[in-house]
Symmetry: C2
Subunit: 253 residues, 2 copies
């Protein structure tokens, strides 16, 4: 599917997700937000604060995907190295960004705009700013790479600013139906046949284990809502044929 939609890759930069210290909260937010813009997220990489890893990964994925979003590593501390690594990836100088610098200098009391904070106003030459309502330090865009904060509410504010400025495609539509006490191994064959009849859709099967009963959720996704709803109608009929009660939507925990 999504032959005509632009694609996106997300780089989650930072040791805290890789060490298990932090539960990632950015992947799902961006996956959902990008899907609504018709920019399906096609890959996520979580990588550590290692300069060569960041540089190589940025260069690999910016060639492969239409959009690259990064989260994390743009604060003032020594482990915040995303910005200088993106400059290195693009082969441009990492230098004070006049507008970011002026804004931040104004925001701090005299003497408080110290060397650490000045790093947050230092960017790859040619970068455009990404504003946000939470903090005076902006993110930035260079080429097809959008560099955002890692703190979820700052990132979300940056994405809110960014969203209307991105060129998306047809929105990815999703519909779901679920059934209790229906093993995947029982519905698999009929589901395969439906997937073959809707080659432009992604049809997925997700078992769940809930206090309210175990079962399976069937999801159809694609840009054509008529097809998505047609596939869900066929899956609904299939569930009935297998002697279970189809329940529209996602299961409730």
């Amino acid at each position: 599917m999504n032959g005509k939609n632009p694609t996106a890759c997300l780089l989650v930069i930072g040791n805290e997700v890789l060490s298990g210290r932090t539960q990632d909260a950015n992947i799902r937010f961006l996956a959902t937000g990008l899907g609504e813009l018709g920019i399906p997220l096609r890959e996520v990489r979580v990588i550590p604060d290692v300069p060569q890893t960041i540089i190589d990964t940025v260069n690999e994925v910016r060639a492969k995907f239409d959009y690259v979003f990064t989260t994390g590593g743009i604060g003032p501390t020594h482990d915040d190295i995303t910005s200088e690594c993106v400059a290195a990836a693009f082969g441009v100088p990492w230098e004070p960004h006049p507008e970011a610098w002026a804004r931040m200098e104004r925001a701090y009391k005299p003497g408080d705009f110290n060397a650490a904070r000045q790093r947050m106003a230092t960017m790859p030459r040619g970068a455009s700013l990404i504003d946000n309502a939470m903090s005076v330090a902006p993110g930035f865009q260079i080429g097809n790479v959008y560099v955002m904060a890692g703190v979820p509410r700052v990132m979300q504010s940056m994405f809110e600013w960014l969203a209307p400025r991105l060129q998306g495609g047809a929105k990815i539509q999703q519909r779901a139906v679920h059934a209790i006490a229906l093993p995947e191994g029982v519905i698999a064959e009929g589901l395969s046949a439906i997937q073959r009849r809707y080659p432009d859709l992604d049809i997925g099967s997700y078992p769940f284990y809930r206090p309210t009963g175990n079962g399976v959720t069937l999801v159809a996704k694609g840009t054509d809502l008529v097809s998505v709803e047609g596939a869900i109608a066929e899956i609904t009929t299939l569930i009935t044929q297998l002697g279970r009660t189809p329940i529209p939507g996602e299961p409730v925990a």
Copy 2:
């Protein structure tokens, strides 16, 4: 750090995390569990149910890391293609695994071990089984690639079985201290100096925004507990010098 520790990469395989339908629950569990075994997780990739993407990614990361773990895509439905893709990546036949087949055949009523379920007993030639307490369908290992379920409680049961069988290194030790109302831009310079004195540690700085107060958590990680605790002691002193009250451990929400 971790010069002598084996490294790990996790592949989260499946469209459901990329579409935002599912909040990933496996990354943090495995990051933590692997850290305790002294096998630091160095990269995570979330990739879609696209055969060539899975094959290429498996081949890239199994050459780069000591251990590769995959989650997702080993069920009975048409979108479960991890197993056959891993066989293709290793260039070996994908065929019935005698032990898995026998176990599953025994577990189902006559006639219920259908073609869809037989796919779960079909594996790359030479695979060893990974048992679990939740389901009769096993995961498997081939080379340095460990293929596990995507459903968190099945994956966790597989990892529990696997953990004592993995060759780890020195455990990654972590200690933290935090402070309220301490901007990162204020502690950054002193923190850099401490990081320079402990080049074998990863020292990280993570701002937080909580109803109980905004602040920053400082984390030191490494295999040498004496160094980790030494760095935290220096950071604690630094916080005091900056006029804030150091609070050991992670902040409470």
